[in-house]
């Protein structure tokens, strides 16, 4: 059963979100909720079945799912709410979260602190504007990884991979294990864009050729990819005429970079860095909007999950501390309401402790004129906190009243104060 208000809501249950939720709860947040789009926790780690995870944090070489399982198990023991198969549709700068899921329907939730942990998306064919026909058989490397490792089918038999990112190289080995032929890995840059160890253990080990400063000139094929035409490029990234080569294949995988997924951050008014495409954050991983934090690949793209986990832990701890402070502060603040014949009161909210320092002035305008003596009264329900008299009130003339320090005790009892202007 979900609550209406949480101390910390985390959007995304990948490594950053899991770590943030766990650490928020351990830091003392009372209620923590994780909202996840997929049907299970763990995020992209569930399809990263290769090893190499956990060397920094657990001093152990683990496959991705095993690394995720540690955090999933820990989360389960901490009474953290989860909402799976759910879409966070919108978040506001006031930390209202709108989400929907098949099991719970449309939800409006409030949270004292929000953690953005949506991760990133792969760059697609459209984003790199690959020329040629539009046949079936062009996939991002991560999509192919999900097909092969979780859903259990092969997207093709003969592959060319564009981009030497880690996912591309890891998929080259994986597809070779499953009986496919990887004809070539092409990289537009003059250097490898993934980890060197992956070049050794994924490409060299299986004699998969890598060509630097090469790219796909066009895709060939009508219904299905039949070949790609590769070309060498010069230092200005211009194709060198005469270096074209037709490489027969039935599938082209793209491993050409990741982009932080920040649609929700934008809706919340979070300022984004044009270089990282992620939120600006301070040392607490707090964004430009107070109470909204961010961690993991949504901030910038990491190469090791261990560092993502550490960012999540830091973020979760600070989000919990923010929520705890907000809750403590909440009881100390009282809303000022406009009562009879009052249009509004400024300030709208008063810190009860401020009366320990000095009297507090309230300013307001009346709704209608009263051309005879009136009481201006500050009320806590039926209890009068203070009052003063005015000979008349008019909407065009602002009304002031001071809450004296002697009213300190009366104000402490209030959860809401109202001001009214009534005839004497």
């Amino acid at each position: 059963m979900l609550k209406e208000k949480y101390d910390v809501i985390v959007i995304g249950a990948g490594p950053a979100g899991l770590a943030a939720a766990i650490e928020a709860k351990k830091t003392g947040a009372q209620d923590v909720l994780v909202i996840e789009r997929a049907q299970e926790l763990g995020g992209i780690l569930q399809q990263c079945i290769h090893n190499g995870f956990g060397l920094q944090i657990f001093k152990k070489d683990m496959p991705g799912p095993a690394y995720a399982q540690r955090f999933i198990d820990e989360l389960a023991g901490l009474h953290i709410d989860t909402l799976l198969d759910a879409m966070a549709l919108n978040v506001t700068s006031e930390r209202h979260v709108y989400a929907t899921s098949r099991t719970s329907g449309f939800l409006e939730l409030d949270t004292r602190a929000l953690v953005l942990a949506m991760g990133c998306r792969e760059r697609t064919r459209a984003q790199i504007a690959l020329p040629g026909t539009r046949p079936a058989g062009v996939y991002t490397a991560g999509t192919a990884q999900r097909f092969v490792n979780i859903e259990g089918f092969m997207p093709g038999k003969r592959f060319v991979i564009l981009g030497s990112g880690d996912i591309g190289m890891i998929m080259a080995r994986r597809l070779t294990f499953e009986g496919a032929k990887v004809e070539r890995v092409l990289e537009i840059m003059p250097f490898l864009t993934g980890l060197t160890r992956n070049y050794v253990q994924c490409l060299l080990d299986y004699d998969i050729p890598l060509q630097l400063e090469h790219t796909v000139k066009r895709i060939i094929g009508n219904n299905r990819v039949e070949a790609i035409e590769s070309v060498q490029i010069d230092s200005q990234r211009q194709p060198i005429p005469g270096t074209e080569e037709t490489i027969p294949c039935d599938t082209l995988l793209l491993s050409v970079g990741l982009i932080p997924e920040n649609e929700l951050s934008r809706k919340a008014g979070v300022a984004l860095d044009p270089v990282t495409a992620g939120p600006f954050v301070d040392e607490k991983m707090q964004t430009s909007v107070p109470g909204i934090f961010a961690a993991g690949n949504v901030v910038h793209v990491y190469d090791l999950v261990d560092w993502v986990t550490q960012a999540g832990l830091l973020c979760g701890r600070n989000a919990a501390e923010y929520a705890i402070a907000a809750r403590k502060h909440h009881g100390r603040r009282v809303r000022m309401k406009a009562g009879d014949n009052v249009r509004y009161v400024v300030p709208h909210v008063l810190d009860k402790e401020s009366l320990a320092e000095s009297a507090q002035r309230l300013q307001m305008r009346v709704t209608l004129p009263i051309e005879e003596p009136v009481w201006v009264e500050v009320m806590n329900g039926e209890e009068r906190v203070t009052r003063k008299t005015e000979l008349y009130v008019r909407p065009g003339e602002m009304v002031n009243i001071d809450i004296p320090q002697s009213a300190y005790d009366a104000v402490q009892r209030a959860s809401e104060l109202s001001v009214r202007v009534v005839r004497r």
Binding site: P63, G152, T196
Partner: protein, 127 residues
Amino acid sequence: MAHEHRKFICITCPRGCALDVTLEGEIVVQMEGNSCKRGIDYVTGELKDPRRMVTTTVRVRGGVHPLAPVYTESPIPKPRIFDLLAVIRKVELKAPVKVGDVVIENALGTGINILASRNIPAKGEVS
């Protein structure tokens, strides 16, 4: 005995040190470029008995997914990787699967077990 110079890239950790190695037969007499002593173990291993961790999947019946990811408990000899994959391909598990379950014991007589790397709950079961 003549000294031989060879280059390696250490794959022990994500740092991926480029190693310049001077060899006397299969003995490392000098190494440059390594950030820690595991570089020496790596090169010695590559010369005498190259091994790799292998990760792949096996079929699962009645699970929330049709596959379970599996891994070698420790690195296996590199020349045996495709033999191992052929053996693993024949395995079919029945859900539920738990992380750490032994999928194949003593694979290919190497003394190395093949383990499941995640939970696969049975369909309809609460994970």
